[in-house]
Amino acid sequence: MKSHSEPVWQTAVRLGLYGGSAAVLFSLVGMVQTFQERTLISGVLTLGQAFLSLAVGLSAFAAARRVQAEGPQAVLLAGGLAGGAVGSALAVLILVIAALPDIRTVFINASPALTAILTFGQPTVVGAVLWVGLGVGLGIIAAALLLLGPAVRRTVLSALGAVLLLGLLADLLRLITEGWNLSGIGVNFTFAGLFRWMFFGKGLSIAGTLVVVAVVIGLNVLQARGVLARPKPVRVVARTRSQQIVRIGAFSVLLALMPLVLGTYMAEVLDQVFIFVLMGLGLNIVVGFAGLLDLGYVGFFAIGAYGMGILTSPELHVFNLSWWEAMPIAVGLTILAGVILGIPVLKVRGDYLAIITLGFGEIIRLLALSDALKGLTGGPQGIQLIAKPAIGGFVFNDQVRLYYLLLAGCVLVGFISVRLRDSRMGRAWMAMREDEDVAQAIGINLVTTKLLAFAAGAAFAGLAGAIFAAKIGAVYPQSFGLLISINVLALIIIGGMGSIPGVIVGALVLVGLPELLREFAEFRLLVYGIVLVVMMLYRPEGLWPEASRQRELHSEEPAPSDEIGDAPLPIKGSAS
């Protein structure tokens, strides 16, 4: 390793400068300014400041960890130096912006507003000096956290995390709990009152912060004393059948009550999440199970939605079916499209497949947009007046009702996914994912296996498209850009390729969270990109990986037993 030959100060300054460049870049991109609008603790801390402090803390911590072997003084020195380097980088930025006001014509975010944020409203030079000092201070604190051991570290980090989360979601929590009260059970207590005390303006009040920190520290201490059980690892290996039924029952009740408790806005967010869960489950079959990288997946979503539009919209005066009549036809059309597009690419592998499917997706979008098919797809105007699904007199016409339709769809598709994964076909897909030639040699018919993967994936996307069309009530070609494909791909990668719960986790993180943090929509794709790269570098198996994949990707190091289950797992030798 490099760190052995390199003096402590050099490692620290190098890492600090990396962190500093990142902090400067994020400031210039406009993230800090946007984040500044959000208050975490009223009058004390904004998200923008927290973000920059995080850059300092992370760099210092990384530097401190590199030199851990050199003893505590070296650790503190490295932390302070790295933090100071980040602070100096920001100081240089402040001074440069002050010296060259014209820089704004190139870097549009290098404005006086940014300087004001960075200098905390102080004069330029004071602000710059302040950052150097702040960097050193925060850096030493971060390094000290490393020295204090894992228990203290966990407590501090979870307290910080809780404050960050509550501060960020303050508005949302207020919106959700506004209507709640306990007067129904005879208690004179309103959540609004609690809120006024805990939260102030757009963030936590100081008292609220102290309460949150105290609660988190208390919980951690109790946990450490063994009073509270540590949360069990998520994947328990064996569970009795009755336990399982109770769990599933409780979970279903929770899911069914969710939109009623959380309100319309959250129902809308969950609808979005569910549509992406449906697509994610489909792409998970193609990419996660069968290992066929499909970048044109949005095409099937589009075919499902357009199929629904063409079949139900009275604008065309052709079919005018009801939603339930049209749905099987639309899904059938998508499956057909999946097979038709699948046949030509049977022989193509890897990145070539990615590019071809990307081409397919773009072709479908461009055709929908073009004048050539205007009679059918309505060109840029799209198709309006798409039928809503209805059972008897119950029309799925608002977010809460659609939630139940989508929930039913997800449960169905999730169930099919699980059964497919455990079936003979599922094993064939995974064999093919690992090695096509070997799979063929052991008697797997690659043609049908691949086509079935495409067809199943397409069917799920078609269903998602059909529901999406009904939800919006119209389809436009703009809804089906390449970014949807990338979004779906990203969510299954974040969740863990081939993992069904991973799809749900991924959709919540990549679709749900951004919906809740709408004001940062501008940086959504930037964050996606960063998340994709960072995940691939540090945790390629995803947040909730399939057990076998995790073993494979970490084959050289024994998996920590509390992460996978209680039984020691056989460690598979690396395959390639």
């Binding site: 030509p344 690419v345 022989k347 004048d371 990109g529 691939m536």
Partner: protein, 353 residues
């Protein structure tokens, strides 16, 4: 083995043969109808071809970046289209400053050279950065992993540049020297078109000489043949890979300036379409093959410029120019299916890497 394979694949092969035949017949029929109708004059055809050559030489320059990297790492550098965008988008601000100070009007050649150098340098730097951060740590990872980081890097670059320079269209200053047209052998060229074609040809010749004649070029070829053997011969493989990214990036930056010369506008999203077209060109010529990328680029440029008027019009499709991109994507799909080795390449797409 071969017989079973034949028997198994025959169904799909038949389908693909039919698809290929239908498309060929449609193209021939459409072209004949258009030519017979005499809707376009010879002059218009000439214009379309010249336009296509101009576009094509830009595609060729970008395609070289894909092909060089593929030749060495056997991976598609998805972030290359953003490398292409980074150069001219950054150089725009230099061009604007030079224009405002009157330098560009007084010394158009020197000014252009400065702008081009800035663009090439920026693109080169970005390419090196991407290689260092997103690809080098993953050199021995499973196939899909670097592909996904490449997509991630591409998103990051697009949005970083959007955040830095804004999301609007920026207009390059017009050069008085380059307005107007002239003709060679009766074919009329805009001056910008001529500059683009000549510059692209010179750059390609320089690259070819670099790869064939210099010691570094020789090392690049060695690494592309066999990384381990090259390392045993004392070649610093990491350095050669970085050099390859740098050369590809510089060419993309130059292509970006030429693109800006023709279209006049730059924007953070400008890389996507030319990027994928250039990839098509690289595949068309046989990916990993340097002259192939050049031929492929020129062919694709002419094909998509002439195509809509030539055969789509004849097939009675309204507003055929809208479907220009569809033609390129379809061509890409068809080549990958029917002749993945491209015009000059070896068969690679089904090879397990």
């Amino acid at each position: 083995m071969l017989m079973t394979r034949l028997r198994r694949m025959s169904g799909t092969d038949v389908v693909m043969f039919i698809v290929g035949t239908v498309i060929t017949i449609a193209i021939v029929y459409g072209s004949l109808v258009t030519l017979a109708s005499g809707k376009y004059s010879l002059d218009q055809w000439e214009n379309l071809v010249v336009y296509g050559l101009t576009q094509g030489s830009i595609y060729a320059l970008i395609a070289l970046g894909y092909t060089l990297v593929y030749g060495i790492l056997r991976m598609i550098n998805f972030a290359h289209s953003e490398v292409f965008m980074a150069g001219p988008f950054t150089a725009f601000f230099v061009a604007r400053a030079l224009n405002a100070s009157g330098f560009l009007a007084a010394q158009p050649l020197l000014g252009m050279a400065i702008v081009a150098l800035v663009a090439m340098g920026t693109s080169m730097g970005i390419a090196l950065l991407v290689e260092r951060i997103a690809y080098r740590p993953l050199r021995n990872a499973p196939r899909l992993v670097p592909l996904i980081t490449a997509i991630g890097a591409s998103l990051v670059l697009q949005n970083v540049f959007r955040g830095l320079y804004g999301s609007g269209l920026e207009r390059y200053p017009d050069l008085a020297v380059l307005s107007g047209e002239f003709s060679v052998l009766g074919v009329r060229f805009l001056k910008t078109q001529a500059v683009v074609i000549v510059a692209a040809v010179l750059l390609m010749a320089a690259l070819y000489a670099f790869v064939q004649l210099t010691k570094t070029g020789k090392a690049m070829r060695a690494v592309s043949e066999d990384k381990d053997a090259a390392a045993l011969m004392g070649i610093d493989v990491d350095r050669i890979i970085a050099t390859t990214f740098a050369v590809g990036g510089a060419l993309a930056g130059a292509a970006g300036v030429l693109y800006a010369l023709i279209f006049g506008q730059v924007q953070f999203y400008m890389g996507f379409v030319p990027g994928i077209k250039a990839f098509t060109a690289a595949v068309l010529g046989g990916i990993g093959n340097v002259p192939g990328a050049m031929v492929g680029g020129l062919f694709l440029g002419v094909f998509e410029s002439v195509g809509p008027s030539l055969f789509l019009d004849g097939l009675g499709i309204p507003a055929p120019a809208q479907l220009k991109d569809v033609i390129s994507f379809t061509l890409l799909v068809l080549i990958l299916i029917f002749r993945p080795s491209g015009i000059l390449g070896e068969r690679l797409s089904t090879k397990k890497a």
